[in-house]
Symmetry: C3
Amino acid sequence: MRATCILLCFFTFLVASSAHPGKKKQYKPCKELVLYFHDIIYNGQNAANATSAIVAAPEGANLTILASQFHFGDIAVFDDPITLDNNLHSPPVGRAQGMYIYDTKNTFTAWLGFSFALNSTDHHGTINFMGADPIMIKTRDISVVGGTGDFFMHRGIATIATDAFEGEVYFRLRVDIKFYECW
Amino acid sequence: MRATCILLCFFTFLVASSAHPGKKKQYKPCKELVLYFHDIIYNGQNAANATSAIVAAPEGANLTILASQFHFGDIAVFDDPITLDNNLHSPPVGRAQGMYIYDTKNTFTAWLGFSFALNSTDHHGTINFMGADPIMIKTRDISVVGGTGDFFMHRGIATIATDAFEGEVYFRLRVDIKFYECW
Amino acid sequence: MRATCILLCFFTFLVASSAHPGKKKQYKPCKELVLYFHDIIYNGQNAANATSAIVAAPEGANLTILASQFHFGDIAVFDDPITLDNNLHSPPVGRAQGMYIYDTKNTFTAWLGFSFALNSTDHHGTINFMGADPIMIKTRDISVVGGTGDFFMHRGIATIATDAFEGEVYFRLRVDIKFYECW
């Protein structure tokens, strides 16, 4: 009986230690999703299939071509299809909606504030992202600051990679979302 | 004595299980607030009582009327009074400040980034919100990503409903804020 | 042996109680950083050393001078050097990147969404901020909603003070970042 209790104590201790599992240094995600989204910037001639538009720019710049000087100051609003693979024409599982801001004068970096609104047989809910995106680096980490529906109160890290681009009109981003707080 | 210890063990186990109470599936809020805010969009003629202004729009659009094509690309900055009930003329308990972005080409959706700055006898502090707002749906969930003052480090979910609107000038939003991390 | 177990039980209870230490009311930061950042607004004549630009403004305003009526509606994009002390010319330890929005008609307040991208011998990673900034108040609290790298999954509160300003071109902000969730 004593042994049982000691075992219980020990087991309880283990449980207590892992009461907030993500807080340990090993950082094992409680959930992971890999998704792609596709951004087609409006350039004055592609209104039908553009999914984003430049809506703000510094003095002297216009809204149908990204500003010079590394596009510093451009704000683009987007509503991009999300797919499970890297094919723009795959059936979308949701939309990536929000904005990006080009925010450096001497290289290409962006600041991102956006949401994934997922609506598929597998996932229903939103995921909210925010962070700095140094575009020229192969993979960039931003914060998953919250979620709703299937992703209620989730937090985590999203690793973004530019999977493909065509000139300054089409960008495809691969997003590896690792949740560390899952509820 | 053994029984006591086993009881203690068991009790400890329960405590351990609930060390992070919000992480359970029942999702009972630790705090809840229902507030209203009132948005009057500047249309070129209502400077005196407008509380928000369109400050960015895609090429070809102007800033005194929401863009065509479901307002896609419009960014509005707002500073709206918050009230305890649905009356615009009730004494405000704070201000809702930030921006919304119309971000879909084929329906009305917005992306929200804003804060409540509350300053009343009941509440003093700020609440920070972010998320996708599919305006045409009756209730929409966004993330409460943080707070200060009375809402120090809080997280939760805000459910937004369009309580009333008049044309494209006045919108009243009901916000049901449920905190699940209260500190 | 029983005493040992009771002791264990008690110890386990203590561990359980503090499984999420930050959730207690004493609010002791698990990490703290004090940094400065320096914002030089583009005014049409300082392109070489400006670090921010007004990119959106309400109807009737322009982009080389802050709008009248307390700058209501101006959106500025910035890429500001971060330093360890209050000297603009100290070696930068990173960049503050994002945007601020002037969002009140009858006083100066801003809404902030930005990131610190730190890259020094001491710190490597990003910190993501969001919140209301009532500029005229001596110190203002905003939310630290996430981080990456050395600041993986961190949350906290940043207290901002306007350390210096010159007209409406140069602002220096002191940021005292207190993390309460450190992982």
